[in-house]
Symmetry: C3
Subunit: 154 residues, 3 copies
């Protein structure tokens, strides 16, 4: 069994079948060894949002972390479609975290750790990435978190 | 006549002479086959903004879409300066869409389709890109939309 | 003495010892000749924020510019750790500027010039970069500015 798939099973992470965008963009583009994955919002595998609304308002930090983790799971699901075998991931290069935030919310990094932690749980040191976290005024479907990813793949 | 230029003519898209930033940055940087184009706001060819203000407030979704399309036209104008011949575009790799949003606005992706659709109208399947769309609190000059682009070029 | 280090000394820029993120992400990831540096907020070398709060509200444009410059200094500090010798920087490819903004603030580019100017003061023409500037609802620790960077290195 592939190593990363085994690790996902150990962690109890089930990758959803990712939705195809209903528009003129695609879930990922590969150029050379770089794979750019489109921003993923915090859909659970059943299609519902893990958390809806703003951090610093209706959404707690704990729920925000669960939402960020769900975004990361959705990135992995797209990654698996892109490369077939997750053992081909050489490195998680960069995550961009967008936290749906009330203007007073200053703890975006704590929320974003939900996504970063999953990457390291799954890929170990290869999962350590550069990261940018910002608080945005609004997100698609009022999702609490959106995360985009850049991966080096073989 | 070059193929993509012919397609632009068919679509009635006129590329403006893009402005040079009046600061210590440049409209694009190429590294290897990757061309990073600076964020473009929704200037029309006459220099006026196609839409000013926030989605979910003064700007309708339709006007937002027109604004996003204008940003995409401005990316193409920079791209043409960068590579000379738009037939050298191998792939639209990624668009980052920033929608000037009231905190309640949740339809950023609909707005951003104005940019994505243009890329596919112009480049066909090569125009399909990874995409991240977020709603931001404010944009330069109160533009309704800003879009940045990454292109693979030959 | 290395050329860029000499230039920093001339400019009176002292690079701080950059903090290591206290989480599962890293300050930078290199893939090929591309170095992605995580978003840096406007910490001064003493660890205090150069400016806290929002542009268009508590923070003036001048203070915002100083904050953006501090972010750029922090990017250079990470870059030095990454490559050892700053003369190995081939090009500043892209800066992403996130300005903590009241919804009415439209002068993000003026603020971001604080970061862009430093890059050109330090690296000359190699410091000219593609740039995207947006106004965000909130930033980590209520920092006034956050900047991420992409560099080509040898």
């Amino acid at each position: 069994m592939a190593k990363i798939e085994a690790r996902l099973a150990e962690l109890g992470v089930v990758l959803p079948t990712p939705p195809t965008p209903v528009a003129n963009y695609v879930p990922f583009v590969r150029t050379g060894s770089m794979l750019f994955v489109s921003g993923q919002i915090c859909h659970a595998p059943d299609g519902k949002l893990v958390a809806k609304g703003k951090l610093g308002d209706a959404v707690s930090i704990e729920d925000g972390q669960r939402a960020a983790r769900a975004c990361a799971v959705n990135l992995l699901a797209q990654l698996k479609v892109a490369v077939g075998d997750l053992d081909k991931v050489v490195r998680v290069v960069r995550l961009g975290g967008f936290i749906n935030s009330a203007p007073t919310f200053v703890d975006g990094p704590k929320v974003m750790n939900g996504a970063s932690d999953l990457m390291v749980e799954v890929f170990g040191d290869k999962g350590r990435h550069a990261r940018t976290t910002v608080g945005v005024a609004a997100l698609p479907a009022d999702a609490a978190v959106e995360v985009e990813g850049l991966f080096e793949v073989s």
